[in-house]
């Protein structure tokens, strides 16, 4: 049997390279209307009065009065309004939609709308905590009782904007039978469907969600689309006509979710043998005006506090702070990039302060199979990090360069990060929150259909999930189809998030395919459904955050080499080397592609991408001002995938999607640190920040 990792042609290649692939904005419909959002201009204000001009025929205002059932968008925490009612809590908060045939007239109507506000005092600091979490491991009091040294630092991370090249958008239209169908750029068909059903208060079968081609998402289309979907569904419910709303770039950048800015304070108790006995951490996340899924981001960040290391005594706390800024949300990594940056910098800063070799310090604490995780779970599966580290340092000549670049006259540096990423939804999410189901249907022509909700947003799910089924069935690829999810036909296999698609959904599909193969009858219509069963031994206490936070972990090593200009303080990335353990690559080329793209985002998070707000107004809201790497900015990357099959993963596969981003920032920050011979505590490590450090 062929090795599944061997690359095959990408399923959707022809349509994508030819421009025939239809993204939501490419879809045309007769008699379509357009919608534009009227938004708050204040970060915090009461709405006292709204004056709407007389509307021409067939132009509509849609606001909270039109919401049939629930004026909140169903997501993990239900505090996002569909439309603001009496108060607005961030600049850009949607107040109403204006809907009509002609965009020019819509603009003219909006210009005439007069909103009277009573401005209130906004909060922008980490002041009002709305979620507090904590967990402990071991005996933190003992660890800190008589340490040889206590070393504490605070680290800060900024916004990161997903900057998918396809902006967000939806087409929503009514069917004759009162059903509402939504076509949108999304990651989670059922998040959208369930949110709309909840807001409309309608029967489940009256809402249909169809996924078109999606032009990148990275988490930015995980929960935010539900907001647009609910607004448009309310509109369609009222006026019974089709509506198309596609954001332009500025509106998208200013008003959709971003990576949570963070402030992380770490305190390590070290003994005289340079053993890190205990770690205290406090994680502060800025959720913006609404909580949404910030609680889960906080949980993942806290759980990542010890990254690839084993530290026996922990006291980890975290808070989500609400501020009057655009609400933040999912972005590849989901709390881990913030934390991995902090802990990786800390390890190095401890070594620097103690005047010892950072590499040896890391190695002494590297997690091993059988160790307790940060939440007192167990690393049940083999960990091959030592081999990975050896490979990474070899292909990058890390040790030689670290020595060579010690000279402060040479403005070069090389930095390394070690990290893991928990695969699947944090904690008991898979069994309590998602309960994934997959269906394989075989028709009388023996053609098999994958009926799952997994969205291919570029990561190649269409190719990899089909590949798993084809390999397991042992049939020809042309006899299997995985069409874009349509909730009228599929089962809810869960959202396309949390690095769960290959491992969990793929895992279920492999089992379903095996069952289908074993019970196969030629020419007979058949169906196999499989549902997620949490492995018995995975026990998780959500409240105390104790137990196995994830069923499996993927591991990585990133090494980044830089050169910093002493004249302009700009950083040039000269090389990037990575080694990953994702269990088993379902398709080498797809995984390597994810690796290239992920590290580009992770490294840019560390030194390039700047987004700041001033009194609640984002200063960077265009592709000109929000700087992501161009082809000229990217260095050559070399990636090695090492196999370490996971027993419960399809063909041994574990999670891939987020792993390749989480380690980029500390690797580049540590490289810059070496180049400039100054400690870095904030990312992005921009030339402006580098200059500040050098002059201090």
């Amino acid at each position: 049997m062929k090795d599944i990792s061997q690359s095959i042609p990408k399923e959707d290649h022809v349509e994508k390279v030819s421009g025939k692939s239809l993204y939501v904005s490419d879809i045309k419909m007769d008699h379509i209307l357009y919608a534009k959002t009227v938004r708050s201009i204040h970060p915090k204000a009461k709405i006292l009065n709204i004056e709407i001009p007389e509307l021409p025929k067939d132009y509509f205002v849609i606001d909270y009065h039109d919401v049939p059932k629930e004026n909140y968008v169903k997501m993990i925490f239900n505090d996002w309004p569909v439309f603001a009612e009496k108060q607005v809590n961030y600049i850009g908060e949607p107040i109403m939609l204006i809907v009509g045939k002609n965009k020019q007239i819509i603009n003219e109507i909006i210009e005439k709308i007069k909103i009277k506000y009573q401005v209130l005092k906004p909060t922008f600091e980490y002041q009002s905590s709305v979620i507090h979490k904590s967990f402990k491991k071991g005996d933190i009091k003992k660890a800190f009782s008589k340490p040889f040294k206590t070393i504490s630092y605070t680290y800060e991370t900024g916004y990161q904007e997903q900057a998918y090249i396809e902006p967000q958008g939806f087409i929503v239209y009514p069917e004759a039978d009162g059903k509402i169908t939504l076509i949108g750029s999304i990651q989670c068909p059922y998040y959208v469907k369930n949110a709309v059903v909840n807001t409309l208060g309608c029967p489940d079968d009256k809402v249909r969600v169809i996924q078109p081609s999606v032009g990148g998402a990275f988490g930015g289309k995980e929960e935010f689309p539900s907001v647009m979907a609910c607004q448009l569904a309310v509109a369609v419910h009222k006026i019974k006509q089709p509506i198309k709303m596609i954001f332009e770039r500025e509106e998208d950048m200013e008003n959709t979710t971003k990576r949570h800015p963070s402030k992380i304070t770490l305190s390590a108790a070290v003994d005289k043998d340079y053993r890190i006995l205990g770690l205290k951490a406090h994680v502060s996340l800025d959720s913006g005006a609404y909580i949404g899924l910030s609680g889960v981001v906080l949980a993942r960040a806290m759980i990542a506090s010890t990254s690839a290391y084993t530290i026996d005594h922990l006291d980890i706390t975290g808070d989500v702070y609400e501020t009057n800024t655009v609400p933040n949300g999912a972005f590849r990594g989901f709390g881990a990039p913030q934390m991995i940056f902090a802990i990786e910098m800390l390890i190095h800063h401890i070594a620097k302060d103690l005047n010892i070799d950072p590499f040896s310090l890391r190695l002494a604490h590297l997690a091993k199979q059988g160790d307790k995780t940060s939440t007192s779970g167990i690393f049940r599966d083999p960990i091959i990090m030592e081999k990975m580290i050896e490979k990474a340092t070899e292909i990058s000549s890390y040790h030689e360069k670290v020595k060579a670049y010690q000279d402060p006259q040479i403005w070069k540096g090389i930095g390394m990060s070690w990290f893991l990423h928990g695969c699947g939804f944090t904690g008991s999410g898979e069994s309590t929150h998602i309960n994934a189901k997959v269906k394989l249907r075989k028709d009388s022509n023996d053609h098999v259909y994958l009926l799952v909700a997994a969205v291919d947003m570029g990561q190649g799910a269409k190719t990899s999930l089909k590949k798993i089924v084809v390999q397991t069935l042992g049939c020809e690829a042309k006899n299997v189809s995985f069409d874009n999810p349509d909730t009228d036909y599929i089962l809810d296999s869960g959202p396309t998030v949390a690095s769960r698609t290959t491992m969990i959904v793929g895992g279920l599909l492999a089992r379903a395919a095996l069952k289908l193969k074993q019970t196969w009858v030629d020419g007979k219509e058949m169906e196999v459904i499989k549902q997620y069963q949490q492995p018995e031994y995975i026990k998780w206490d959500e409240e105390a955050m104790i137990g196995d936070a994830y069923p499996a972990y993927s591991w990585g090593v990133n090494i980044v080499e830089v050169e910093v200009s002493p004249v302009t303080y700009q950083t040039k990335v000269k090389g990037i080397w990575s080694v990953y353990d994702v269990g088993k690559a379902i398709d080498d080329r797809l995984v390597l592609g994810q690796a290239d793209g992920g590290i580009a985002q992770g490294v840019a998070y560390g030194y390039l991408e700047v987004m700041k707000h001033e009194q609640g107004k984002l200063r960077q809201k265009t592709m000109t001002d929000y700087i992501i790497p161009t082809s000229v900015d990217m260095a050559k990357t070399e990636t090695v995938i090492m196999e370490n099959p996971y027993i419960l993963g399809p063909y041994g596969a574990k999670g891939v999607g987020e792993l390749t981003l989480v380690g980029g920032a500390p690797a580049v920050a540590l490289a810059i640190e070496q180049a400039i011979n100054k400690k870095i505590h904030k990312i992005p490590a921009t030339p402006e920040y580098i200059m500040e450090l050098i002059k201090s």
């Binding site: 020019q104 302009t568 161009t630 030339p687 200059m691 002059k695």
Partner: protein
């Protein structure tokens, strides 16, 4: 009713400008974005428009004995690959925007837009470029620093168009271009620097500096430059602290979404120092 004219030749264009008020548009990379309307709707020009981009008559690079004459509608990408264009200007264009934008961009557009951060302008100031403003009645030849009088402000009259840019031929011993942007392509400059020096018999016979994105217009000060001509290279280098002080007085960088005052000031001075050090 707004008029749109695509003139078949230069004379037709000049006549149009003479008879009515028109806004001139070249490639569109600035105006189409500045006047942008909602997607699917035409830009908010609300004015008669005359489209000069495809006027073949204004696309040329002519090398004469003492000068290079560049037709105002020659695309920047064409200039980048033309053998007669001064190396400094090519160095600047190479780092501007991207190939697509360079295919649409023109020196005319850059000059008329008069952005304080316009890269090509820095080179034109340093090279003592002349701008030819044509109208039905006359051709005015103005040094570039007399054409641009403030951010987005020029002396171009309503009946005039930019016909040609004239660059005196120079044989500098060394030129330097440093663009500091947020990334290595598609970046608006935080600071930019053009420098040129000519050395004969170990003496500085020509010394020029032009700085971009650190003032309302490009900074070039000939009185400062004059002070250092005729010095020996060694004496010149010893004057570095003075030179830096003088330029520090001239530049007034700002805080904006791209960078801050302190960084722009320090980096501008670092670049000047580095240029002098490397002479």
């Amino acid at each position: 009713m707004v008029k749109h004219v695509i003139p078949k030749n230069l004379q037709e264009a000049l006549n149009c400008l003479y008879t009515s008020d028109y806004h001139v548009i070249a490639g569109g990379t600035d105006l189409m974005i500045q006047k942008r309307n909602t997607a699917d709707l035409p830009p908010l020009f609300n004015f008669n428009m005359i489209y000069l981009f495809n006027l073949e008559e204004l696309k040329y690079v002519i090398k004469e004995e003492t000068q290079i004459r560049i037709g105002s509608m020659t695309s920047l990408e064409t200039l980048l690959h033309h053998e007669d264009v001064p190396q400094l200007l090519k160095d600047v264009i190479k780092e501007m925007a991207s190939p697509g934008i360079r295919n649409m961009a023109t020196l005319a557009g850059n000059i008329a837009n008069a952005s304080p951060a316009g890269d090509s302008l820095v080179a034109l100031y340093l090279l003592d470029a002349l701008v030819v403003l044509s109208s039905v009645n006359q051709n005015r030849y103005l040094p570039i620093e007399k054409v641009i009088v403030g951010p987005r402000k020029t002396v171009i009259q309503n009946n005039e168009l930019i016909k040609e840019i004239v660059i005196p031929i120079n044989t500098f011993s060394k030129t330097s271009w440093v663009k500091v942007g947020g990334r290595l392509a598609d970046a608006i400059s935080k600071v930019s620097f053009a420098g040129a020096v000519t050395i004969e018999d170990d003496r500085i016979t020509d010394f020029r500096i032009a700085l971009g994105a650190v003032y309302m217009t490009v900074v070039r000060n000939r009185s400062i430059e004059k002070m250092y001509k005729k010095l020996s290279v060694d004496s010149f280098k010893k004057m570095t602290p003075n030179i830096l002080d003088q330029y520090q007085e001239l530049i007034k960088p700002i805080d904006d979404q791209r960078s801050n005052k302190a960084y722009r000031m320090q980096v501008a001075l670092n670049i000047i120092k580095d240029f002098i050090d490397k002479i």
